[in-house]
Structure formats: structure tokens, C-alpha cells
Subunit: 124 residues, 2 copies
């Protein structure tokens, strides 16, 4: 491990517009992705916007998953952030891609808190 | 506007370790940053981890702010995601940087949902 966190940035294009506007479905998708990959959910908040779109965030002990959907563009922005090795963010990403039926997903991985750049501070 | 969302990625190094481990302070910082920039908070979840660290997410009508702190590395990963023009994510970012006393902040802006890549789907 060369970083404190791994952040997977998903640009999900050509999703199902109907699914992107379905709050219970979006919520279940994120929770399923978290749980299927062994993450431990510690909090969540989901909202439906008028006229379109859902925002959702799931806080997990291993960090977070969040989603913002634009059904009118068949697009969702998803971020999956994890620390440690207990949770595979790419496995969670694949679940979300499949559930939202994205025909054109892009996946970028960002390393957060590079250990070459941060130093452990004195004993606390 | 050439994208649906603007995502500001903050790597906050050399922060105050004490502040990074202080859940009420972290919570107030994110809420202050959201409110000072005119965002509308619609949900939030914050957690203190053992032995160190805080995770927090604030869902706003304009998208979200989230933070994960590693006090033992004096480091925080912060993401500020917004859509529309009603909320300036860089102004919020500057508030967080100042409050956490980061002496080495990095700021990267990602455009999410590039309008050159997504298309409005038929009337719904």
C-alpha cells in the first residue's frame, strides 16, 4: 500500500434513465455494492430532486460511496473511496455499473494521501 | 458551463492533528463551509473512528462535501462536488483549508459529466 486511500471515480454514461430517477433502486444499489464487498455501513443519506435526479451517500467504516444522477442525461457520477485492504472498490464499482446498466462507463483510480507525501506524526 | 458537475479534490497535508481528530470541529467546519457558500444541507453523517480519524459527509441540494481524516498523518482527504452555479466549491475549499490549518494543501478540479460526452435524452 502506497497511499492512505484509494478513490475510484466513475463516470457512468448511457445508463437507464428510469433507474437513475428511482431513489429506492439507487439506495439499494449502493448498499448492495457496499455489503457485497464486505464494507460496513455506518450512515447514509439519500435525496430525490425535483424534477429529476437522486443524490446519495453511504458512509462506511472503510470510507464512503456516493452517487449523483442526471436521468435526463442518462448519466451518473459515482465515487467510491476506501482505506485499507478490507474492501475492494473496483468490485463495488462493477456492481454499480452493472445495476445501472451503463453502456459507457469510465473508471479512474486516484490515490489519496500518498505515503511518499505524508508522514506519521509523533506518538499521540 | 461545459459539465454537469464540478468536483474539487483536496489533499490537505500538514493539518493540525488535534483538529483532525475532533468530530464536532470537523462537522462544524464542513457545515460552515457549505452554509457560507450558500449551499443547502439536506443530510449529514459523521463518525469518529478508533483510535484516530473522522469521516463525515454532508449532502447538499447542490451535491456533497465529504472528509476523511488521518490525524496520525496530519492529513485529510476532502471532496467537494457541486452542480450548477449557485455554490462555489473553491470558496468552500478555502474555508476548509483555513479551518484545518493545512500548511500544504493541494487542490485539483475535475469536471464530471462533460457535456461533450453526455446527451440529453428524449422528453420524459
Amino acid at each position: 500500500m502506497n497511499a492512505l486511500g484509494t478513490h475510484v471515480v466513475l463516470e457512468l454514461k448511457e445508463c437507464s434513465p428510469q433507474l437513475l430517477d428511482d431513489l429506492p433502486f439507487i439506495q439499494k444499489t449502493l448498499l448492495d455494492a457496499a455489503e457485497a464487498t464486505g464494507a460496513h455501513v455506518v450512515g447514509q443519506t439519500f435525496h430525490k430532486f425535483n424534477p429529476y435526479g437522486v443524490t446519495g451517500v453511504v458512509a462506511i467504516a472503510e470510507s464512503h460511496l456516493c452517487i449523483h444522477t442526471w436521468p435526463e442525461y442518462a448519466y451518473a457520477a459515482v465515487d467510491i473511496f476506501t482505506c485499507g485492504d478490507g474492501f475492494d472498490p473496483h468490485k463495488a464499482a462493477n456492481i454499480v455499473i452493472e445495476k445501472l446498466q451503463s453502456r459507457e462507463p469510465s473508471v479512474i483510480e486516484l490515490k489519496r494521501g500518498l505515503l511518499a507525501q505524508v508522514q506519521r506524526v509523533g506518538a499521540r
